[in-house]
Symmetry: none
DNA sequence: CATGAATGAGGGTTCATTCAT
DNA sequence: AATGAATGAACCCTCATTCAT
C-alpha cells in the first residue's frame, strides 16, 4: 500500500528535509519551513496534521522512494557475476547516499519516540543485508570470494563510512585534491574506490 | 591551553550530556537539566553564559578528555610492532566510542552553527589520522602491510562503522547472538572482530 | 416583520443550537457545526455571513418561534378566569422552558456584545410581563387575588426558578424521587407544583 | 484543608473573574487578562499551570470564600426566631449574590468538563438547603409557619430569582424607579422585598 | 449555487534568560 | 555566590473566513 503525496506536499517535504538535515527537527520551526517554501505557516498543520506528523510523512516518503529505487536497481544486476554485482551495489549505495545526503543526515538522529517509523528504515536495511548476503554466498560458491564475511558487518561499514564522510565534510575534504566546490563529487569518487578495496579485500577477492 | 572546569560545572555537563544524547540539544530544556542536576534553572546561564555556550563547553570538555586519553594511549603502544599497534588502536577506539556512546551520539548532530567547536573535533580526527598513518607507513616499510591504504579512509571506516552500529542498535542487534541486555558488549566484540579483519585485509596483511 | 429561513439554514441552526448549548459559542467551532450538519465549512459564512451573524439568526429564529407560540397560547386562555389563566401560564412556561432547555441554556450566557439581539428577548419578557399583569389585575378586581404583587417580580421568580433547576440538574435531582433518566420529567412536575404554590400564595389566593 | 493564594494570584483571579463573567471563559484570552492585570502573558501559565487550571483555582477560590462567609453568617443568626432567621437569610443571600454578581454570572455556565469543580458548588447548595430546612422546621414547630414548603424549592426560587435579575439587567431595570447608575442597589432592594413576600407567604406566614 | 484549498490572525504554552535580592 | 520570580519572544496549532473554481 503506497501512500500518495500531492505536489504541494512534496514541495513542503523537500524544503523541510533540507532544513531539518541542517538544523535538526526541533531546531527547525514550522515558520522556517513555511518561509523558505513560500507558504503559509498554517499549511504544515493543514496538510499533515502537525509538525510531528509531517516528519513521519517525510520519513516515509523518503524511505519509500529509497526502497523502490533499490528494488529497481537489484533487478538491473540480477544476472551479473557476484564481483560485478558487489561493485555495482557499492556504486549504487554511495551514489544514492551522496545524492540524498540531506535525508541520511537526519535519518538516524531524529524521531526518537517514533519507533514505528524507525522500523521502516530497519526493513530497508534488512533487505539490503539480504541482497548482499546472496551476492557474497554466490561468490563463495563460485570461488571468487575466499572469505564469507558477514553481510551485516559489510552493510555497517559501507553505510557507516559513507555517512561519516558526509557528516564530517570538514575533515574528509582536507585529504581531497581539487577545489572545495565539488567536494561531494570528489569525495564520492575517492570513497567509492576505498570501499571497493575495503570490501573486496575483506572477502578475500584477488585484486 | 587547557580549560579548567569547577566541580559543579562538571556535574552539570555530565547531566546535560546524558540528556542531550537522549533527546537532542533543542529537545532538552535547561529546566530538564537543572531538575535532574538538582540545581536552579538560572545556573546554566549563570555558569556558562547561555545554554548554547554550555554546549560549547560540554563539547570542549569531552573532546579535550578524549584527546588526553588518546595521547596517553599512544604512549602505551609506541614501542610495539605496527600490526600490534593497529590492533590496539582498533581496540581502543571501539572501546572508547562504545563507552562514551552518549557523546558520539550527539557529537555529529548538534552545534551546527558552531564551527569553532567543530574544529576541536576536527583536530582530534587529524591527530588520529596522523597516528594511523605512521603505523601504516611503518608496516609498509617493515613489509607486514602490502598495500598502503589511505589512513583518512581507514579512519572513516573505523569510526563510521562503529557509530553506525551504535546508532542503529535495532538493526545490528538482529544479527547478534546472546540476550538483548548486553547489546553493547556483544556488539562491541563482534564489531571489533569485523574491523580487524576489514582493516588488516585492506592493508594486505596476511592473516 | 418576520424573517424567513430556508430549510438548509434551519438545519444548520438546529445543529448549531444543540452544540452551542453544550459547549458554548466560543467553544463550538464552525467545523464542529459543519461536520455534524454534514455540510461544508464555508457554508456558515456563506449562508449567514459570519459565525456571529449565524448566532444572531439563531437567536432571532428561536425567540421568534417562542413569541409566536406564546401569542397562540394567550389566545387559548383569554376567556378563562384569572386563577385558571395563571395556572395555565405557569404550566405553559415551565413546559416550554423544559422543552427548549437547550436554548435557554445559552440564551443568557452568550452574545454579550449583541445588544440588538438581547432586545429581542427583552421584548418577549415584556410581553409576558404585560400578560401576567393583566391576569393579576383581573384577579385583584374579581377578588380572588388579595395582594397585587408586581408582575415583573413574578416573571423573575417563575423563569429564574425554572432556569435554575435546569442548569443545576445535579443539585435538584438529589431531592427528586424516581430514577435519574427522566430527570426532566420529574423535575418539571415537582417544579410546577412549587411554582403554583409560590405564586398563588404570593398573590394571597386562598388555596 | 484550605488552599492559600498569593497576593499576585488573587490579583489575577479578580481580573479574570470579571472578564470571564463578561465574555465567557473561551471568549476571554489570557492576553486579555494579562493586559488588564498589567502582567506578562506567561504569568497565567506560570502561576496556575494553564488557563484551565486557573479557572479551577478561581472557582475554588470564590466558592471557598462563599462557604466561609456563609458559615460565619449562620453563626450570627443561630439564636434568633425562625422568622427572623429566614429574613436574615434572604437578606444575606441577596446581598452576597449582588456583591459577587461577577462570580455568579459565570458559575453556572462554564467548566463543562470539570465535574469535580461543580461538586464544590453543589456542596454549598446542599449546606444552604440544610440550614433553610432547619429554619422552616423550627417555624413549623413554633407555629409561625403553617406550610412546610420544601427547602430545595425555596433555594431554587431564591437563587434563581436573584440570578435572573442580575443577568437580565436590561429587563428588570425597566420596572425600577431611580436612575440607571445604582441599578444594583435599587434592584437589590426591590428584589429583597419581593423574595421576603414570596417565601413568607409560601410558608403560610401571617404577614 | 456550492466547494475545498488556502490564509492571516490570534490562541495557549514553553522557552532561555534576566534581575533584584 | 546563588536564587527564584518574572519576562518577552517564539513555539505549534486552530480558528473563522476568503476566493478561485
Amino acid at each position: 500500500m503506497k501512500k500518495k503525496f500531492t505536489e504541494k506536499q512534496i514541495h513542503i517535504l523537500d524544503i523541510a528535509e533540507e532544513l531539518i538535515a541542517q538544523k535538526g527537527f526541533e531546531g527547525t520551526s514550522v515558520r522556517d519551513i513555511s518561509a523558505k517554501a513560500n507558504i503559509n505557516v498554517a499549511m504544515i498543520s493543514y496538510y499533515f496534521g502537525s509538525k510531528e506528523k509531517m516528519m513521519v510523512n517525510l520519513y516515509q516518503y523518503r524511505v519509500q522512494k529509497t526502497r523502490e529505487t533499490f528494488a529497481e536497481f537489484t533487478q538491473t544486476i540480477k544476472d551479473g557475476k557476484p564481483e560485478m554485482q558487489l561493485k555495482e551495489i557499492i556504486n549504487f549505495v554511495t551514489k544514492q547516499l551522496f545524492k540524498f545526503n540531506y535525508f541520511h543526515a537526519f535519518v538516524t538522529q531524529e524521531l526518537r519516540h517514533q519507533d514505528r517509523v524507525k522500523d521502516t528504515l530497519l526493513e530497508f536495511y534488512q533487505t539490503f543485508t539480504k541482497v548482499l548476503e546472496d551476492v557474497v554466498q554466490k561468490g563463495i560458491v563460485s570461488g571468487v570470494f575466499k572469505r564469507a564475511a558477514k553481510s551485516e558487518d559489510i552493510v555497517s561499514t559501507i553505510i557507516g563510512t559513507i555517512v561519516f564522510t558526509i557528516r564530517n565534510k570538514n575533515y574528509y575534504e582536507i585529504y581531497l585534491k581539487g577545489n572545495d566546490e565539488d567536494y561531494l563529487a570528489n569525495a564520492e569518487k575517492k570513497l567509492k574506490n576505498h570501499l571497493n578495496l575495503c570490501v573486496f579485500s575483506l572477502l578475500g577477492y584477488q585484486i
